[in-house]
């Protein structure tokens, strides 16, 4: 899922996409890849533990790990349970990582593409989040 260019990617903010549907998450990740290639660490997850629509704390933790960057990770979520499970996952991270993960209040597809594009420019986690969240009020 995540391919990395070791020269650039590790310094860019990582993006995690969490949807109830694995198809939506994978599709959104494809759209981010199309914009930014492999310069942004990227991972997605979707579906309940054991299948079906839903979200899964274990899978979210694995996605954060996969997209990990020292610059931090921005998570994009679709609906309620995706947000609640992502918040739970962030709280379960090792302490030193917790402060470097944010959940963006933005639509999952558009937010992921905007966040990914911002991250590819080497922006900070806070800038990435703000860019994604500019979509909120539209």
């Amino acid at each position: 899922m995540t391919s990395r260019n070791p020269k650039i990617a590790l310094s860019n903010v990582g993006i995690v996409i969490v949807s109830h549907s694995p198809d939506v998450a994978r599709g959104a990740a494809d759209m981010v890849r199309q914009m930014v290639g492999d310069v942004v660490p990227l991972a997605w997850c979707g579906g309940a533990p054991g299948g079906g629509l839903g979200t899964n704390v274990e899978a979210i933790l694995a996605a954060i790990d996969q997209a990990w960057s020292e610059a931090g990770v921005a998570i994009l979520v679709d609906l309620g349970g995706a947000e609640t499970n992502s918040e739970m996952a962030v709280e379960m991270l090792p302490h030193e990582r917790r402060a470097r993960v944010v959940i963006c209040d933005a639509p999952v597809v558009e937010g992921a593409v905007m966040a990914g594009t911002e991250a590819s420019a080497g922006s900070t986690l806070d800038q990435v989040r703000r860019t994604a969240e500019e979509l909120r009020a539209r």
Binding site: P49, G52, L53, T55, G81, N85
Partner: protein, 217 residues
């Protein structure tokens, strides 16, 4: 006295079996105003709890509650996983080594607060909190007939969610159309309160019965 391991096993096991047994009803309630997965999610979570019952029954009560909570977080797959998981993990974190009614009430209060924070929610929003908050108030009142009052408060509190308009969760997307249905989370919380009250009441009756027998001997 710490919680008796047999009683602990009954509490965890009966709550879990109750949730599994009511999966279809919870799903039907959730189909009316949500995404229709509450029953299935709770079933998956509590089947995992049942699979670990031998392990959790052998732990001290506070550790067992934390373990059950963590299983729900990992296995449920909807918002109810982190919500019920947070409830039980916080209950475990604050659970007194030698439980008294006041000590348990205090731990339950911390657990309800944690659910409010996790769900960014409170009473009157058509959620599980509409049942848990009155249950806490009943527990704090203490006194005689605690178990019947707990059951009655949970039942009427769940029924009171029917005319509410949802403010949180998937049901809030329906706006006014969420009115007229019981909240599925309120129903699962009612079932939980009812089962715990039933188990504890039976336990106390059995203890009294045994004491009377040993007195009359």
């Amino acid at each position: 006295m710490p919680v008796d391991p047999q009683l602990q096993r009954k509490l965890i096991g009966e709550v879990a079996r109750c949730m599994v047994g009511h999966a279809e009803e919870l799903t039907a309630l959730d189909q009316a105003i949500g995404d229709g997965d509450h029953g299935l999610n709770m079933k998956r979570g509590f089947e995992a709890v049942l699979a670990e019952l031998d392990k959790t029954a052998a732990l001290p009560m506070h550790e067992a509650l934390k373990a059950v909570g963590m299983t729900l977080v990992m296995k449920v797959g909807g918002a109810s996983g982190p919500l019920y998981g947070t409830l039980l993990m916080t209950l475990g974190k604050s659970f007194p080594e030698l439980p008294t009614r006041a000590g348990v009430a205090q731990a339950f209060s911390a657990a309800v607060d944690a659910v409010k924070a996790r769900g960014k929610s409170d009473v009157q929003m058509k959620t599980m909190l509409d049942v848990l908050v009155p249950a806490l108030a009943t527990l704090n009142d203490g006194g005689e007939d605690l178990y019947p009052r707990l059951r009655a408060s949970a039942e009427s509190a769940a029924a009171a969610t029917v005319p509410m308009q949802a403010v949180r969760g998937r049901a809030s997307f329906l706006g006014a159309r969420s009115v007229g249905h019981m909240d599925p989370g309120a129903r699962s919380s009612w079932l939980m309160v009812q089962t715990v009250a039933d188990v504890l009441e039976r336990e106390e009756l059995a203890m009294k019965h045994n004491e009377n027998r040993s007195v009359s001997r």
